[in-house]
Subunit: 351 residues, 4 copies
């Protein structure tokens, strides 16, 4: 194996370390020929909107942006006033890993962290929070709820869980955002209709992630409440998120949505995580932490295993949450062989 191939096979740090799907690379190459209307008025962008409308069984609008942070922060800015609060899980990406992007885009709204097992918002906590001090000018106003699907720990909200949360959100009139950085993984895991997982459960805006699952630089906001589109468009421009040569982002998404590539990639990534989970279960020295329903697996490794893996060039996050806890992330590019090799290596150091 070449060094590069070895590196690929031993990278379990994040799905954002993977390259891009060949179909997506081809689409970008094709898009490079000839002129096109700028700023998203091109044909490829229009085609993406059409494909998303089919997938979500409804006319949707679309904003293509360059990062997931932008997709999330822009969505939240359209759903809360500056004096509002964003109710989210305390372990959510928007709360911990975006350097206050939501606070910046919203002009200073407040993220209110809630608890819940497996990085999923607890319905009871949410029920109390949506009405907390509502209408009291001394406090921020509960305005929007954001859930991550699939979550930061690899868990997945079931359809029932989403419907329950959606009704809690909507009853007092709040807005509902879904951080779908790994949305494909959830659809693949549940085998559910994308529409059921989103707008039919009350979701107003979806950050539709693609970069972690095969594209290069393209993320989208799927707009179910289309009255928000003008505001989102102004905000996107103002945030430096309206690309002049938008077709190059759009081409990635177009290929991603063609012939089910997005679901194939996600199904594969999930299967690789499941394969890893199955293997790990059989190693008594390793404790599984939560269930890998999508493409992320948390477990607790003996110290010498972590050190052994690192010594052999494995890349993964460890000791970030608590001592001994590690995270493995699989992707569309993970091979069964690389999973099996990882398992062998764990076993080797575990004994």
């Amino acid at each position: 194996m070449s060094n590069s191939t070895t590196a690929a096979a031993r990278t379990f740090s994040s799905d954002n370390a993977a390259g891009a799907s060949p179909e997506i690379v081809d689409a970008v190459v094709r898009a490079a020929a000839g002129p096109a209307s700028p700023y998203g008025s091109d044909d490829i962008t229009a085609g993406v909107r059409g494909k998303l409308s089919e997938i979500f069984e409804r006319d949707v609008d679309l904003l293509i942006v360059s990062t997931g942070s932008a997709a999330n922060a822009l969505s939240l800015a359209a759903l809360t006033p500056p004096w509002g609060s964003v109710l989210c899980h305390r372990d959510s990406h928007i709360n911990n890993d975006e350097c206050g992007a939501p606070e910046f885009y919203t002009a200073g709204a407040k993220l209110v962290p809630l608890g819940g097992d497996d990085a999923k918002i607890d319905a009871g906590e949410l029920r109390a929070a949506v009405r907390n001090k509502a209408g009291d000018v001394h406090s921020v106003e509960p305005s929007v709820v954001s859930v991550t699907q699939s979550t930061e720990t690899g868990s997945v909200y079931s359809l029932d869980e989403l419907r329950t949360l959606g009704s809690i959100v909507k009853e007092p009139g709040l807005r509902f955002h879904m951080d779908g950085a790994r949305f494909a993984g959830a659809v693949a895991a549940l085998g559910a209709h994308p529409a059921d997982l989103t707008w039919r459960a009350g979701v107003d805006l979806l950050s539709f992630g693609a970069t972690k699952n095969g594209t290069m630089t393209a993320e989208a906001i799927v707009v179910f409440d289309r009255s928000l589109t003008p505001e989102l468009s102004f905000r996107a421009k103002r945030a430096g998120q309206l690309a002049s040569k938008m077709r190059f982002h759009a081409a990635q998404l177009d290929a991603y949505l063609t012939d089910g590539l997005w679901l194939r990639n996600a199904t594969h990534a999930n299967a690789m995580a499941a394969r890893l989970q199955d293997g790990v279960k059989a190693i008594p020295e390793v404790d599984l932490l939560g269930a890998a329903e999508a493409n992320i697996l948390f477990c607790r490794l003996p110290r010498q295993v972590t050190e052994g893996l690192l010594a052999e060039g494995y890349a993964f996050y460890h000791d970030r949450w608590e001592p001994g806890v590690v995270r493995f992330v699989t992707s569309f590019a993970t091979t069964p062989q690389s999973v099996d090799d990882l398992l062998d290596t764990i076993r080797r150091y575990a004994v």
Copy 2:
């Protein structure tokens, strides 16, 4: 000619309508294979920084962002406090065409428009403005000067002009930003050292444009005052401008800077504008407006010429500035034949 080829040949609307240079497409294809460190910690990004340091004859830092609006707004945010003012030309892109992106990123700084011929800031006006109400809490504080090089009308600041402005900016301690969305065109037009055109004239931060000159989705901030890098890095993340798969932007810039592609592309675009200008000069019914020093040409066309061009599928901006005034923009992708065809068509309708 196919429809697409025809469209390409008749597109003079903007350099952002062009596709991408083949070398850049190839670089992106190569970058797609295998894993890479995310968020700009990859090797390709490091290489771009090295190349820019060579070009600018100095260790520079680098932020890669997805749009020129982001490059400008982010730069300005690092150079002015919220209560500061940004002195710029009244016809500048930051003042007119970014939907208030600078105001958003700076948390409400004020753009103060100045006059000057050919979209270049008048030194006398600037001299008065840099001290206007300085230190007076009732007024915004003059904090940063932004020039566009080459300008929005296709003119170019000479080295002497830049040095003069630079000394006016620096004497009272203001900061100096250059919007280089078309920086390559200025370097090509002047045959000057990039270092002389920037930090040696006092420039602190340069928005180093690439998308209009051959890349797809990549722009850079070249950081001459490296004390600004930490702040810029936090601001970029927070603005959703820190791409996870940064290598895909970086690969574009790497190819752009390799073997002088950036200057070859710009030299070609400039030559095409000059060819158009030369041709137009010989058509008595057409008035040239200013000199096309880079790749933009403004002129006044008789009504029937404008209408004739539009009828034949030519794409260009017209009647936006004043009635009869049109703008032609050439790019790295413009062919001599397409310029000659445009001239023929103008002549045909002019008589």
Copy 3:
């Protein structure tokens, strides 16, 4: 005369240099006794709202704030999105003298300065501006028009002028704000109904100035479009403008509105400016600049006159606009004797 009395008699710098009306002082003293509900839920605040509703012949809402800058900036924030523009006169206070407070409160909206004689917005310029690039995401969106009544130069919009502007504002759906830092002076000058000068001409929010006309620390926003009240309330709290012991501001306004004190004070201030104007007209060495319709007078003085006045302890702004130009401002506290003394002194140095 004591030093203090002399100083009072020779102060023509601004109406904010005056003390407070005795009736207002008494009201504050009375308000200090005993407990009261905080944050504006007290009886005095309720009374002020009632009095304003009578004066404006309509149920209005009320926000009491501590400065005119806050009244203006808060109002504008409720009337424009961050990506909107505020159309105002280039000589307006919000554009020049508030250090970007509107930009801060609005999260980065853009002030677009318009021209017009006597610091009044030209209707023709406004007509073009309200539709300028509307709906174009590359540009800020025309959202609100702000007029100052009476203006920064002492002129007054007539009822007809206001109605014309109001219809230009409202036809394309923009919002209308009035900076009434010296509103009482305009009402006194025109002898018009406050309702006609405001909501009947389309005004949505009025910054109802009081401090320059007799109160100490109290300004109000009169809310004609009461759907804006909740948003204004949250914004006010968040801006640190919701006073806990609100009654102390409210008591000032209550006395100000009782028995017509506000109009008596303004009528007096206007009369003092008119007296000064009449006297100055008869001095051939002095050029009047514009007409003093309210309580501000601009004129051009020979150098030795300006120097003489300063030498004798007169306080006024000079040489701020152009060399030789001075501004005299009268107030409720200006005495006829002090005006006559000023005129005598001018005459003495003029010869």
Copy 4:
């Protein structure tokens, strides 16, 4: 007793329900006569700065603002960048009761709530938090620590506790803010030097509360790190917190600081809370919650006592924290008789 006197005697809801000290009323009356320089350039404001410099044994700068929310938010904005975090107690006023004013003024910094008994920040938690993800662009940067003295529950940080926190704050280079809405109460309770409680423990900026302890509308920021003064001045103007007739706020503070009024008022308020605490201790049906070190007392009352007090016109917060928990706040205006009457009434209903 008149109704008003009864109401005064039965108001234990908050110290912001009290009126104003007679000395302060007198000072405002005196300030109303004659002209004065605006915007804080008057003599009274200068005098306040002098008095504060004496009290704090050091040349300090001063910003006078109209609310405690403004004092806090303005201070924090000068101490953290927008991408910074403000470490504070989870029960702090800035975190819960200011509708996101800190987020607004700071352009979107993040408040990170910490735990600790008696509303005081736990030193161990703080030690971990000041270095949490420092320098990591994916996370907000720990920038400033804010403590409340005396706290929201009536407890007081000892000198040792403050010094410990101060050294934790300063060691890694963070800034230190003190919310002193009830600072006088802490000084009175501890009998300590104001300097020891603030800058000698590392405090950079102090929100020096006055309104709750006898003034009407005046709060101050005491600036120990005077390099912050220019920034604070621009921010204050921009926030609508630079009053034109500043002398009317300054006069209140001047009287407040004259002849120890501020400490006399606080000592009295504390004594009234202690008297109440002593009385309550002897009532077996009532549970004291924490110790009233300053002027706030929390306890748990039997339901019929709470209802009885309300029926008799007593004003106080109840059932806001948890069922049965009530808060009594005393002030400079609370009389011993009113405390004794309250105790009698509690006893009457308790049996």
